[in-house]
């Protein structure tokens, strides 16, 4: 099993969700995060006090997958989350050792 972490632009969340659903990847977790890679931040001025804001709002998606779904998932995320501009985000892939469905106790790929 694989665990995919994708940091994407918040406005692309719905597109990514639909694209993944089309691949039969039906579950995921989304968290509001702040981050940056090469994208420049912005400055805010409050009554003369200027603050540089480097961390930009992003969405972190976490998805548990069967090995066989990995490539299709990565392509779908790139397709749906990409805008062609700096700040589109990144995808990280980890090995997933175990997954358990809490309600039934199923484990392994049947829990996905």
């Amino acid at each position: 099993m694989k665990f995919v972490i994708a940091v994407i632009k918040p406005s692309r969340l719905e597109h990514v969700r639909e694209a993944l659903n089309a691949l039969n990847v039906l579950g995921m977790t989304a968290t509001e995060v702040k981050g940056y890679g090469r994208q420049k931040g912005h400055s805010e001025i409050y009554r003369g006090a200027e603050y540089e804001v480097h961390f930009l709002p992003k969405i972190k998606l976490e998805i548990a997958l069967d090995d066989g779904q990995l490539d299709a998932t990565i392509n779908a995320i790139r397709e749906a989350a990409g805008t062609g501009k700096i700040g589109d985000g990144k995808i990280f892939v980890l090995d997933l050792e175990q997954a358990v469905r809490i309600r039934t106790g199923e484990s392994g790929t049947t829990a996905l």
Binding site: I45, R47, A49
Partner: protein, 449 residues
Amino acid sequence: MTIRKTGVFGAAFLLAVLHATAAFAQEAAAAVGEVIEVAEEVVPSIDTGNTAWMLTATALVLLMTIPGLALFYGGMVRKKNVLATIMQSFAITCLMTIIWFVVGYSIAFSDGGGFNAFMGGFSAVMHAGIGADSVQGSIPTYVFSMFQMTFAIITPALIAGAFAERMKFSAMLWFMGLWSIIVYAPIAHWVWGGGFLAQGVMTGGMPVLDFAGGTVVHINAGVAGLVAALVLGPRKGFGAVNMAPHNLTWSVTGAGLLWVGWFGFNAGSELAADGLAGAAMMNTQVAAAAAALAWMFAEWIVTKRPSVLGIITGAVAGLVAVTPASGFVNPAGALIIGIVAGVVCYYGAAHLKRMLGYDDSLDAFGVHGIGGLIGALLTGVLADAAINPLGEGASIVTQAYGVIVTIVWTAVASFVILMVIKALIGLRPSEAEEEQGLDLSLHGERVGD
């Protein structure tokens, strides 16, 4: 000193004061009883129109503090300090109510006999000698006292803007309590209660003109705030850490309540529902709008973007500046006052402050101190006797005298009070408490996640 000891000490002190003043009041009541019998030959009576307006104006001014100022300031601090900031406005409202009732009104508005040039006496402690039928001018004395109480409430609440995010709650209560008796009530007496500024001592009989509190409220609070900001020192991380406002929608809501409430503040200071009150209302509106736009455009030119924080602060600066002038100038004068206040206060808050390096967190001095100064001085220049005959003879020199006296007294007295409290219980929370946020460390509460 632990919190418990402070509480016990505070309670004992308060009880001792109340006991002493109650005894005082009983003696004084007998004396006042005699005075009232003489006055009854004249039989002043209540004008119901004026009274209805003043009851309303009082409510409007109270709304300016709770929740107006509470929200205005609350939205401007970091999330971890919101509740602590709002608590200051609310607690001050409660504390000042009692202090004003017990002794503040008496010091400000009763006859001080031999000392009347400097302060009133204690004949009206606990409002002794005042009943439901007592009259002040054309309104019930209780209503007059209540109206003035709302001013005594908002003035210290304004100071809190200068030391936001770094003042210990217990120290703040002590400071505000002592300050209202030693600084606010006497200055109110000097300007409005028949004291030396009202008598025109040193200014050839020409009184210092302050219609609704440019000196008594704004310069007073602004300068005290500056002193407090300097004595306390800057917030931890000032200049390096992001201290941006956490919710400007609250601040805008607060600003709206302040603006509308200010009709009670300025038009209510006429103590009557008449043409001058109407003029004061018009002046208030024109100055607020002019200052808001002036600030907005000044900021737009300098930073390339007009801001919400800027426009609401500009409006408040205009309201502050027009306060002493509201019943003395005509609307054209109010327009000038607004424009000047908007530009100068923008410069003061956004640039001068940074240049001089002091941490006046929410610009109590930048807006109230500087705005009040502008208004008080321009009242001398722009007073129009056609609007208010009492403005005849107004001069910038007389106004400057009143301003300087106010600044000196409030600066010195505030400094001394702060240093005494600092020596006894300390003024700031610990570094760890400040880091964690005052909501949790001082009040054990927080706002959401």
